[in-house]
């Protein structure tokens, strides 16, 4: 089980996966948006999306868990 974490504080602009999806390590889970910059957050491990901790428009801090991949 791996936690996908936010590497910067910002708003969740787009959620690109659903719970239950099989995803590849290079696949982006969400795109964060902050101060006119968009940062895609990749899964970094392959597996199934067990839980999505955020939804679009949510604010996340650096280090917050975005999703759990199994």
């Amino acid at each position: 089980m791996t936690e996908v974490k936010a590497n910067m504080a910002g708003n969740v602009w787009k959620v690109l996966v659903n719970e239950g999806d099989s995803i590849d390590s290079s696949q982006d889970v969400v795109i964060l948006e902050s101060m006119k910059m968009e940062i895609p957050i990749a899964a970094e491990v392959s597996g199934t999306v067990k839980e999505l901790k955020v939804k679009e428009e949510d604010f996340v801090n650096e280090g917050d868990v975005i999703a759990i991949i199994e």
Partner: protein
């Protein structure tokens, strides 16, 4: 002079405009979003109005609401600051139609320079040197590839309506081209509502040097010398200075003349900036024109003694320029460092609650600030929270004042780029004036 104006902006630039208005006894009206409730400019203005939610399209880009506040408060003119609506043709037109003065050029001039492609054509016709490239939209990747092969890599793919570093990318080869062309076009479409692309040759080892101009409504146009703005990350400026450590006196004069020619070609009025790329042999090429006040305008103010906001107000009111080119001289050297709420290593944004904000007090420094010790930096706007300007008789004196002030600059609660600014200011390359646009990239590799 105007008795009351509205400021259609936020942060440090709103405070900056208010400062000059106070000096001139002009009443100020601020507009603000829900996210800026606690911002210093809201309290500094004579009147302040909440006009919408934190997202810019709900508030700072909400033209109907801004016009309504201007009319309700009896504001005679609107200062747009930079960014947001400052280069928006429709906003300028709307104010013209409502009988409210837009403190800037007329909508026609904004429109001509708003498209980088039209600007290239206009400048070429005016006899201003432009970067080799296309003067027509590049419709497809296939066409782009053919042009790139003709010009030779590396090339720059650019969105005609892009800005703030968005919609442009250096491309080294044909493989990169396909991805870069499409993704930048898409981003430009998304951000600026227009995905038109064109191609320019990359000027290697270039310096970014821009000329400040002022033009009144009677055809009097002067330049206020150059600013060197080559220290950039993600095509956004971080450190700017005046004068440029690169230019010879002869190049300075030629660039000033070219900038005046450029402004006159579009019957420009008010403050504006012509950006150029300058190569090591001091050849210069038109890059774009910014039809507004620039973020880095304070360095010009420090070396010329001219208050650019005051001149903007006077010109907009219909006054004649009170000085001519021969009255203007360069006195000393000024450097501006932009303080960004961001990680000093990755440059990723770092919004959050500020718990302490104490800019140093001292001689030979100026602060243009948008926050205070209670301010919460939100993710909705630009990461720039303040500007530090240091000045001295010489460049090395200005650098020393800058370093001292940066070391004493206290910001707590959020991450800032201050440690990075100190490293740059102390570096050998910066101190030698070796400030090319590739500076940060090369600097990071060395670190």
């Amino acid at each position: 002079m105007f008795t009351k104006i509205l400021i259609a902006n936020r942060g440090e630039i709103a405070s900056r405009v208010i400062r000059t208005c106070h000096n001139l006894n002009i009443k100020t009206v601020a507009i603000y979003s829900e996210a800026d409730f606690e911002a210093p400019f809201v309290k500094e203005a004579d009147e302040s109005f909440l006009i919408g939610g934190p997202k810019v399209n709900e508030s700072y880009l909400n033209v109907d609401e801004i016009v309504k506040v201007a009319k309700d408060t009896g504001a005679e003119a609107v200062h747009p600051g930079y960014g947001l609506l400052s280069e928006n043709t429709d906003f300028a037109k709307r104010l013209e139609a409502e009988g409210i003065v837009f403190i800037g050029p007329d909508s026609g001039a904004i429109n001509k320079m708003g498209s980088k492609l039209t600007a290239r054509q206009t400048m070429e016709n005016a006899g201003v040197p432009i970067i080799p490239g296309t003067n027509e939209p590049v419709e497809s990747v296939e066409v782009a590839r053919k042009i790139a092969n003709d010009i030779g890599y590396p090339i720059m793919v650019k969105a005609s309506h892009g800005g703030g570093g968005i919609g442009m990318q250096i491309v080294q080869d044909g493989t990169e081209l396909e991805k870069a062309f499409e993704s930048n076009s898409r981003r430009a479409e998304q951000f600026f509502g227009n995905g038109t692309m064109f191609i320019e040759k990359v000027i290697e080892d270039a310096h970014h040097v821009e000329i400040q101009i002022l033009a009144d409504q009677y055809g009097n146009t002067v330049h206020l010398f150059e600013r060197e703005c080559s220290i950039q990350r993600r095509h956004q400026k971080i450190i700017e200075e005046a004068p440029s450590p690169l230019l010879s006196e002869s190049t300075r004069q030629h660039m000033g003349d070219a900038a005046i020619k450029a402004a006159k070609a579009i019957h420009y009025k008010n403050a504006g900036t012509i950006e150029f790329l300058v190569d090591e042999s001091q050849n210069f090429y038109f890059l774009e024109m910014n039809t507004r006040l620039q973020v880095e305008h304070p360095v010009t103010e420090q070396i010329t003694g001219i208050d650019l906001v005051e001149e903007q107000l006077k010109i907009a009111y219909g006054e004649k320029l009170s000085f001519s080119q021969k009255d203007l001289t360069i006195n000393g050297h000024a450097i501006e460092a932009r303080i960004y709420a961001e990680d000093p290593k990755t440059f990723f944004p770092s919004p959050g609650q500020i718990t302490a904000f104490n800019p140093p007090i001292g001689t030979n420094i100026r602060h243009d600030v948008g926050v205070n010790s209670d301010y919460k930096v939100t993710p909705y706007y630009d990461p720039m929270i303040a500007k530090l300007i240091a000045y001295g008789e010489t460049r090395s004196e200005a650098i020393n004042y800058l370093i001292d002030a940066l070391i004493d600059y206290e910001v707590e609660g959020i991450k800032t780029n201050i440690p990075f600014l100190i490293d740059v200011a102390k570096s050998k390359a910066f101190n030698e004036g070796d400030t090319r646009t590739s500076f940060i990239q090369e600097f990071m590799i060395k670190q």
